[in-house]
Amino acid sequence: MPFTIPKERWTAQVQTTTIGAPEADGGTRTSTVTVGGEQTLPFLHFEGETPNPPVIAIEVLDEAPTGWPEPLLKHYQEVLGDPAAWAQKAVAEFGADMICLRLVSANPDGTNASADDCAETIQSVLKAVGVPLIIWGCGDDDKDNEIMPFCSQAAAGERCVLGSATQDNYKTICASALADGHLIVNESPLDINIQKQVNILVTDMGMDLNDIIMYQITGALGYGVEYAYSILERTRLAALGGDKMLQMPMLSIVGSEAWRVKEAWQSEEEAPEWGPLDKRGIMWEVATASLFLHAGTDILVMWHPEAVARLHDLIAELIASPQA
């Protein structure tokens, strides 16, 4: 009996979405990013097309973080506190396909920056780089609802991605995105049914299916990576199986998750059983990101330049046809 490769016949594909608007489309971006369109499980070229490789956004914080470990700090030290310079470095030196700007300064428990301050930051970052932007609030629902309309307006026409809409808090961000021509990230807590529900809620408000990115929470290697891994796999299977409300491209936040865990930052003196520190955090971020890639994510939000470079190489290798 001769051997034939068993193939699945999928009935649908992941939706294709373009982020960023060039001048011709009313924006100022010098490059755009297109994700999605996969016709099969991740990188199974014998079975279907993967027309758009996954992309990497480098995360930029709008104020200097505290407590970053040396292996991470040394690459960003001179740009911390200057989001425009940070974004510029991330694109020019580290090859970011996108910037994910996180407005931590807005947090009422911290600096409590105003909506105007945030809008100004966004404009400075838009000026500094030509790649598309993901703009993410501070995580406090009330404050994010206060700043997001101004942030959205500051980037009107640029087709940015605004984050994030949740089951309990989606109206303001959704209305802002609709008004100013942006996309949104719909977030759910590792729950495919809630994800679907948020997607339905925002489309009921008039959001186009093509303007939605899904984010179902991420866990780092050793800290729940398997939950996110399986949710990504299940969502991709649902998309290929024809569920229109789960066919949007998926995003995974890796950098902040991976570097938060002590394996990534605890010194060898504190944790001798884990070996030298210099590469441990990079490996943690790389391992976490690579697992999400195999599970089907489309956008990786990352921190360390070395980890970013490794993932770019891995994506290139996986997107290529198998070598004979």
């Binding site: 051997f3 070229h45 796999e233």
Partner: protein
Amino acid sequence: MALTAMDIYKNLPKTNCGDCGVPTCLAFAMKLAQKQASLDECPHITEEAKEALSGSSAPPMKIITIGTGEKALKIGGETVLFRHEETFHHPCGIAIQVNSNLPEDELRQQISTICETEFDRVGMTFRLDLVALVDNDGNLPAAAAVAQQVSSLPLILVSDDPQAVRAALEVCAEDRPLICAADADNFAEMTGLAQEFSCPLAIRGETLEQLYELSEKALEAGVADLILDSSACDSSSVLQDQTTIRRAAIKEKVKPLGFPTIGIAIGDDEIDKVTSGCELIAKYAGIVVTDLLTRDTLLPLITARLNIYTDPQKPIQVESGVYEVGEPDAKSPVLITTNFSLTYYTVEADVSAGHLDAWIVVVDTEGTSVLTAWAAEDFTPEIIAKTIKECGIEDKVDHRIGVLPGGVAVLSGDLEEASGWQIVVGPRESSGIPAFFKPEYTQRIG
């Protein structure tokens, strides 16, 4: 068509004799239905019943044992393509390469280090699984003799040369090493050795088609315990080959591919090898071979394996009690959480991330998260108060202030009454812990 446990049960003796190792015939039928047991384990099964059931009861991927006795490693026996469909059953073996032409004392040293390497995680200890002796200038037999004395782990004999493998097997065959590998050139000799010495055999094909043909031939020749190697050496090929083999085995019941696979974590440097190892772990390898030796590089692989092979239906739990993070003393804060391991370890990681010294009181909620446990009434003021009283925290601190997860703030009043402690409502998300315990914390609870 898969049979249900009831279909299978009808064909069993229904005597509940327990000779199969399971107390009742129904329980045995359930294990058969999940393909976690083999029909041969029932000594009283009739021939007719066997015929009726054998097609559906044989696991689509054979379980292969390498090594013997307590050292033995069991791999394979997988039943699904995606872990959420059921679970992955037998964690892949991590094999460390050792060059057989090392000087004897270095060889001893290296094998001992591999055997002694262990990592503690979520309250369990994890080790490496195999020592892969790589033949070099015919040094395999001498190295096998050393390894047989020193190694507490099963061996893989890596060589294309049947002469070297024969000489090594003469030394260590009783320990049931894996012979690695038979290919198109040495096929007859290697399958002969596997039979003569009753050892499992890895089959290597240059392509999937060749691997299939060689495996079919090995089965015809009577070698029953196989491991498959498709020679893939870039990420894209590894993914394609591993997926194809697993699909063929599980969905199409292709017998020659119904065995665990072996793959090498390849790369130009340590980080690339870790990346490659993660791919093999996630994408179905039965054995991952690597020359990585340092703890910082092995830790991500061991952790990735633990995560991917965690049963999605059975959350890992930590024991109820008091845990220390950092170096807490009688004045350090006390945090309260549940015993779902992910919940506990997230809290622990966030306390560590804030460089705090603290006590964590873990309440047994049968492995559910804070909000789930609260909804299921497993995280009530009475249950929490009982844990506070019984876990010994009152002997460890001289204050009586506990921090409750913000998501269940509603419990704080009743908990104060039930426990006699002052209850402070903490952040909703564990990630808020470092900020919550900024210096003002002391004044806030003042």
